[in-house]
Subunit: 427 residues, 2 copies
Amino acid sequence: MAVKIGLVGTGTVGGGCIDILQKHREGFIKQLGVDAQLVRVCSLDSAEAEAHGVGHLFTNDYHDIINDPDIDIVIELIGGTSIAKNVVLEALAAGKNVVTANKALMATYWEEVMAAADASGKDLMFGASVGGGIPIIGPLRHSLIANQIDSVVGIVNGTTNYMLTKMAEEDMSYEEALAEAQAKGFAEANPSADVDGYDSAAKVAILASIAFDSLVTIEDVYTKGITDVTTTDLEAADDMGYVVKLLAIAHRTDTGIDVRVHPTMIPKDHQLASVNGVFNAIYCVGDFVGETMFFGEGAGAGAAASAVMGDVLDIAERLEQGVQPKESHLCTDKLPIRKIETLSMKYYIRFSVADQPGVLAKMAGAFAEHDVSIFSTMQRGGKQDGHVDVVYVTHVALESDVRAAIDQIRGMDGLLFGDPSVIRVEE
Amino acid sequence: MAVKIGLVGTGTVGGGCIDILQKHREGFIKQLGVDAQLVRVCSLDSAEAEAHGVGHLFTNDYHDIINDPDIDIVIELIGGTSIAKNVVLEALAAGKNVVTANKALMATYWEEVMAAADASGKDLMFGASVGGGIPIIGPLRHSLIANQIDSVVGIVNGTTNYMLTKMAEEDMSYEEALAEAQAKGFAEANPSADVDGYDSAAKVAILASIAFDSLVTIEDVYTKGITDVTTTDLEAADDMGYVVKLLAIAHRTDTGIDVRVHPTMIPKDHQLASVNGVFNAIYCVGDFVGETMFFGEGAGAGAAASAVMGDVLDIAERLEQGVQPKESHLCTDKLPIRKIETLSMKYYIRFSVADQPGVLAKMAGAFAEHDVSIFSTMQRGGKQDGHVDVVYVTHVALESDVRAAIDQIRGMDGLLFGDPSVIRVEE
């Protein structure tokens, strides 16, 4: 059976999709009985389409795809939440199935696009929006569906993982690591989406929505990036038996969903600790399956295109069987989102303090006053310009108490130099 | 929609399935619109059914399930290839969908049972036959389907991985590690299926059949277990920067499928090297997705039951949509299987040799005569009863040449004490 595909967006991932369709078309016919035909590609100019040998399919108006009655599946790969959203909604309204890799769109407008898919009776698949080529959405919705998923914790941004790996292993500064990531094409000229954690936040919102069957949007996610992480912190972590990763964390708790993105210290023997460079990994815990982990390339043309085309072929097989999707992905649960202030965990806090008598006593007093119990205190490095670094690791403490203690210390006259560095600890 | 399930086999995994159906029935109705009802359970005696609170569903005759026209899905969990095969074939013939965790059945009678499924137009799913709870069959058939898979390499037997971990980390002998695995319930009284590699061989046959879409049966798999692995070998590996794992290996090559199970030295920084204890992991390489790895509990009631019930719910959702499977899993490719003798790789070989002048020269001569180039030679440990251990690591060499060289050394009068230890090396 022939399945006709229109592609909107011919950048890196789109180019990978064109390559897959060209290289494996015969294989798909043989193995799946599906003749996946690319019939139209759209982008701003035709250079990319020509570079991949499909210049003859080019249009610069996506309506040529939406309005083509022969097209069964529209692939949206332009990114962002404005035109991309129109493409997705118009394609669904026109009775097309849609495959997207657009995490920002899904994490922001989940309800709206899912409702549109539901109304159209068509499929909206988004496996490539999280984890690049790592199969995670599919397994959560199928192989692991018999479980109540209690935790999803992942390294879902390759850029920041590359930077943290370089900082830890080669003692690079944040700025050096960023420059190298940019030089290698892993980071954008404006790196904010990666280094400020927004990319990870969108992905964990999608993961949590699927894993817990309860809507989580990007606005629900407490988000802190890696811009304040220093090599001093990474060395301190190393000495204590930890590594620092930008983790995307979602836990189901008795009082709601705990969902957040922040630099996190994890023990060196944790499965996620050895995931380095641009690789991604997602760790799940289910009530029957126990611990599972999915590892692979989180970005790059091939990996993301593999995920997009996996979705396209799934839809193509259903089309061949004459089946429409029954699952509208409208989350059936309405679990509350827990505020970060209500969570309890361990904290690593580094202060640059004046090297004067009585400083430690004052700080200890502030922690005690706010019920934050200290596990260890340690001076790191020597004295510089009259101040020294002091590292605290707390026992499990309430986030709001830790913040109050830090605020109190911040208010102490002439005591602190610069902002304290706070890294949460997961065991 | 109500979907009625009959369970044949109420051991560990069957008990887990009963538990899932009881604990999550309401959740499945809410999330999937499927009311998965267990209506009959069969085993030799009713004690296990009673222990899981379903004594009223008990029968000791599986025909009561096959012949019940209301039952939609039969779960086969009795194992083995005799009665289990009858259950599967009779259930398919009676128009039931079948879910099995039976690796031996699938790896031995793939063509016969798939043909039966094809003829009946019903589903035969077997996700739990490989990797326990780790989703791997599903991802290979869906999320990764756009790739040509070139390699699948896994640690797929928890028992032997537990033993090798204990031997490496706690300096236990093979016998001590086996005794501990048996005491903990990880190894059977007769451990042959695990320690001789047959369990891994069945699993890699299934993985290769799916990954390469080309039939591989257990008889195609070169299989060597861990019974000859000694702590001396593990220590030598450690000193050289390697660990020893029982790997299940399947590579697509230009001249056919290379598929085998044997103890293997892998570098310590390989993703599989840190998979310890009873955990399993499966590493795949696809032409677009690149490297991916799937990690989790390879055995245990919960993990395997999670995989079984994932398949059951997939079928239930299709039943709800009124769709029958189109995919009969009849492999469309007919790739040849490569004989182990035709493969080239690196080898670690340890000989116990007489401590006499000229011994090393004789051995070097034998290797040279058979075109086996040596990367390093090293004496391990001291002299014992007139003999010493000598370890060779070869450059890439042809298996048949290595065997011929070893045979020649074996034939040298009074030179060797006992059998040499041969461990293949993968980079």
